[in-house]
Symmetry: C2
């Protein structure tokens, strides 16, 4: 911590930042589409026309028969009638196939079905008008007509049209060349086994793919350590290659090691440092030796958004295209929970989408943690404009779609208790029914009941032990979902127990030991939390005597991870979570995990497919092989509300 | 015509045909997604996961600082207060940057802003709770969690997630290999100069691009002549390569040369020959040596539709994906004219789309001729199901979209008179305003007035001479558009005259010569037709005395093409059409061609851009350089309705 950050962070609105870069590019004549280069037609798919394409030849480029038959001169046929048939010699009538050129001097085609062929020629019983059954030169397209304008993205049919009009190659915009410099002493490439303190560098992979998808091409320098001189040399090396754009990717640390801005300033000019957008605030824009440079922040969600907001639009401009972010479909959805926002910034929140009943519901993904999962799971991007204070629960919000509506409509939403094997079910559903998708939000069993009541989920997973009857789930459903007729189907019986370190260093034998070790708990409303509370009560143990009772995790795997990393000595969870992380397990007992389906959704096609998958031999076999799962009642209907 | 067609054409509904092929594939174990192959992450964009991807390492894979500051043991800090600050030694407090691993034994991070650094250590004024400002191992994703399911198309962010979870390569579905055999003795490749009777083979280019876009890969044999033995050898050669699919493309002739079905039957089995779909009826499906074979009809619109209906879905199935045609967005639009349909067939009609006012209008593209242009211009595909008799004008119809709605909303529709330079305007519009589009339907000046009245077009082009006043356009507008306030802006003055052959072999000097030569006319309602009628009347010539008066073409270029190809000796049209096809021209006079814009659309953003383009120096200069155009009043407002 001896070096200090020496860069002043501004807070420039998005459009101002974009304009600053555009003006700097304009000053050096680079705010325009790139020049063209010729490519052969088979290589032209998805490329952008650099100039208009005019038909070089007409289509068809000669008069041809539109039918199989005989080519004739129309006036030769005028006297033919039913009662006075006419014979034309094989000089007067030339056999012709569809598509063949009309012989010189002929001007009509009589269909084969309308003639009688004899040795001397053909007999006809009706006259034919000139140009009948003739496909005329230029009927489709006349030479010199516009085939495609400039700045058009070439589709499969376009390739046919260009070829049909007499071209075998086409002038397309050069692919903008982006040179990426990943920086950060802590970064290692994806093919390395990272040690503690090392982070796999994947922002360059994401940005490269974004750029390729937008029509650019990417080259990369090796990862550069956070040292002033090596970074400066890398930038010089990059500038000497004269790319269209240089990206300097910061490492994930936002510490004193961030030299990017000062190095850009030394080689040229920093235009913007700090943009009023979240995530992505510390974006840098500069220019050196007529080459634009963007400093991309290291936090992966920021890096991806910087790509969408600032890099892809630049690529698009150089290709004469509109930016993806401007043309992507948008839709209005209801936000499922309150989102706070920084008033001074444009805030972008990734959401998952599901259509439940008539409502399109947008569930915000965690902004802070969950970096990878928020990128993976996002179906769309909610934009909270500057000077807004955020979104209220159930507020309508415009969402930029990452997935098309058809895909979203094929999504079953499950909210409620978390079971790791819901992933397995999702995986079998996607395999058995292409395009079908199961997304889950882990809000605990009680949270699932609430979501069902509010019609905010298709189905809910739960495992709630009724202390009085000793029965699972049904007593809660009968009480809480009186107005919502449901069917309850068993997912599996599963084994709950204490997840502990390998070889049990703390000698934990049962829940009685919780008073002397450090525990990690599940969140309020989770069935596993209720199970613990029930068992503690049975044993006369007060929660106050359990160290770590107040520390909450939201999933079984998170509990297992806390144990594996020494944050806690043990936690209650399913056996499969312990097995996943190579931990030991002290069984507490078996419980029934059910899926609750409102009868209204029993006919929903994807819910039906989900039940088919649940009942399939393939899935049941796979589930039975997991440690701590018993499938003897998997698929069994435990309860059906009376209507 | 000595060889006879020997193949019986059936009329199998689409689904039955697809099922027949699926069952034949199932019988040989090929109705399943293909196996996986490993690719490096930078090559994985757009590929399909062949198996689920599970996290190999957690993310983060170690506890790290979430802030710049000092790593401490939380219990060491409990006594610190504002009034009784506490000093921790540099052993108790280790300097740490965001992202760095937590030193062994430490369990919290105090932010740099909350400490005072002195020589002996740091001074703190508040306690910190365990795990505060620590990003914990697995917080984002725990090893063994599902990252991506199988059958998922890899996006840029997925590549980051896969790398972040410890993989540097990924197993993706092999690309289905499609081998294409183009057949037809009349076909030549796109790099050849075609002679009369030769046709440029471009169906293989379109199908190859469709297949690549759907995720397959293509190899091709050379074009095969329509000879039984060479076709049979080609099929044997193709089968020996063991592709996943063979396509035999028929030539454009539907004559006796079509051996495909019999050759498939000789090598294996024809499953289907003739499907109840238009266009595309003569599709063949077969299987030989466990390899499926599709015979693709030669008519280009049929070939493209066969690709969409039968080939792309097969590729999708082998990739574990849903077919593009099943997932593309659909929309409801109003059809602008009656469409008849074959009752027994599923009929697919390509349409252009424009949003005029609140209405989305679908204009059917010509089904017969206009092969290339119908492929090029289609914004969507209307499906007229079997047993329907077609569509009535203004009937609502479901349209499968080829272009996204945003693109359609950026389209200005012009109906009315045809001027070849509307293409030039469209081209400058697209260049000056990326994404903006002008589409035109040529219905003649009078047709344009009707379309304006019905609110079926944004703008209309017209050149209507009022016989009484000698004035252009305004008298018609005042009479016909009394209820629709409009602005009239001049496009250009242009020269009309007789388009004649080079060197004027028929010695045509003026319209007086029309009584002794063969004429080609424009359609009823066209301004040029009215001009002719006016001039004939002036000269006392009856239409009955003009040979060819009844032969109608819809555009100036079509008239020029008719003259160039000897169909007629002359026709009335604009000078630029004559110049385009290297013809001569006898001037008849200059006329004013105006654009009529309802005032309601003056604020339409794309209409505004169109007017900016019309008034731009670049466009006016380009237009003035065209033969027969005078831009002295281009952009001038000639008339504005009073409200």
């Amino acid at each position: 911590l001896t070096e200090k950050r020496n860069i002043y962070l501004e807070n420039i609105p998005i459009e101002e930042a974009q304009n600053a870069l555009a003006m700097a590019l304009q000053a050096v004549g680079k705010n325009l589409p790139l020049a063209g280069e010729p490519v052969l037609l088979p290589d032209s798919l998805g490329r952008i026309t650099a100039e208009p394409i005019w038909a070089r030849i007409s289509s068809p480029h000669y008069h041809s028969a539109a039918m199989d038959g005989y080519a004739v001169v129309a006036v030769d046929t005028v006297d033919a009638t039913e009662t006075r048939p006419l014979t034309l010699s094989y000089e007067q009538a030339k056999a012709i196939n569809t598509g063949s050129p009309l012989p010189e001097g002929k001007n009509a085609v009589i269909m084969i079905e309308h003639v009688q062929e004899i040795d001397e020629g053909i007999i006809i019983t009706a006259p034919i008008a000139p140009w009948w059954h003739v496909r005329m030169m230029g009927e489709d397209m006349v030479a010199t007509e516009l085939v495609l304008p400039a700045n058009h993205k070439i589709r499969p049919v376009d390739i046919g049209a260009i070829a049909g009009c007499g071209h075998h190659q086409v002038s397309v915009r050069q692919k903008p060349h982006v040179l990426i410099i990943p920086t950060g002493s802590e970064l290692v490439t994806a093919d390395t086994e990272p040690k503690a303190g090392q982070i796999i560098e994947y922002n360059s992979l994401v940005l490269a793919a974004q750029i390729e998808q937008a029509g650019g091409r990417v080259t990369k320098l090796a990862i550069q350590p956070d040292k002033h001189d090596s970074l400066k040399n890398a930038l010089q090396e990059a500038l000497s290659q004269k790319p269209d754009l240089i990206l300097m990717l910061s490492g994930s640390s936002a510490g004193s090691k961030d030299f990017t801005a000062s190095i850009i300033q030394e080689s040229g000019q920093v235009l913007v440092h700090g943009i009023a957008v979240r995530p992505g605030h510390p974006v840098i824009m500069g220019i050196a030796r007529e080459t634009p440079i963007i400093g991309v922040p290291g936090y992966p969600v920021s890096a991806a958004l910087t790509g969408e907001l600032f890099i892809e639009p630049l690529i698009a401009k150089w290709l004469g295209q509109q930016a993806e972010i401007a043309t992507r479909p948008r839709i209005t959805a209801q936000i499922t929970r309150k989102v706070t926002s920084h008033t001074g910034d444009d805030d972008f929140v990734r959401v998952t989408l599901a259509k439940v009943g008539d409502k399109l519901l947008a569930t915000p993904l965690s902004k802070g943690a969950g970096v990878i999962s928020s990128l993976l799971r996002a179906d769309g991007l909610a934009h909270i404009p500057r000077f807004s204070e955020g979104l209220d629960m159930r507020q309508e919000v415009k969402i930029l779609l990452y997935r098309n509506l058809h895909g979203i409509e094929q999504t079953v939403m499950t909210m409620g208790s978390h079971d790791p094997m819901l992933d397995l079910l999702a995986q079998y559903l996607a395999t058995q029914f292409a395009g079908n998708r199961l997304t889950s939000a882990n809000v605990g069993s009680m949270g699932g009941l609430v979501a069902l009541k509010r019609n905010e989920t298709h189905i809910a997973g739960m495992h709630l032990l009724d202390e009085v009857s000793g029965e699972y789930n049904i007593p809660y459903i009968e009480k809480q979902l009186r107005d919502i007729p449901v069917r309850v189907v068993t997912f599996a019986h599963r084994e709950q127990g204490l997840i502990i370190l390998k070889d049990n260093p703390y000698k934990i034998k049962s829940l009685d030991d919780l008073t002397r070790v450090c525990y990690v708990n599940r969140q309020r409303g989770a069935g596993t939390r209720l199970l613990l509370d029930y068992e503690l009560k049975q044993r006369g143990i007060s929660p106050d005597d359990v160290a770590g009772y107040e520390r909450e995790e939201y999933t079984h795997l998170a509990v297992a991870a806390a144990v594996a990393t020494g944050i806690a000595d043990c936690g209650l969870g399913v056996r499969s979570a312990a097995v996943s992380l190579n931990l030991d397990f002290v069984s507490v007992g078996w419980e029934r995990y059910d899926i609750v389906i409102p009868q209204a959704y029993l006919e929903h096609p994807i819910v039906k497919n989900l039940l088919v998958t649940l009942n399939s031999d393939e899935f049941r076999t796979a589930l039975a092989q997991q440690a701590g799962y018993d499938t003897r009642e998997t698929g069994v209907v435990q309860y059906e509300s009376e209507n």
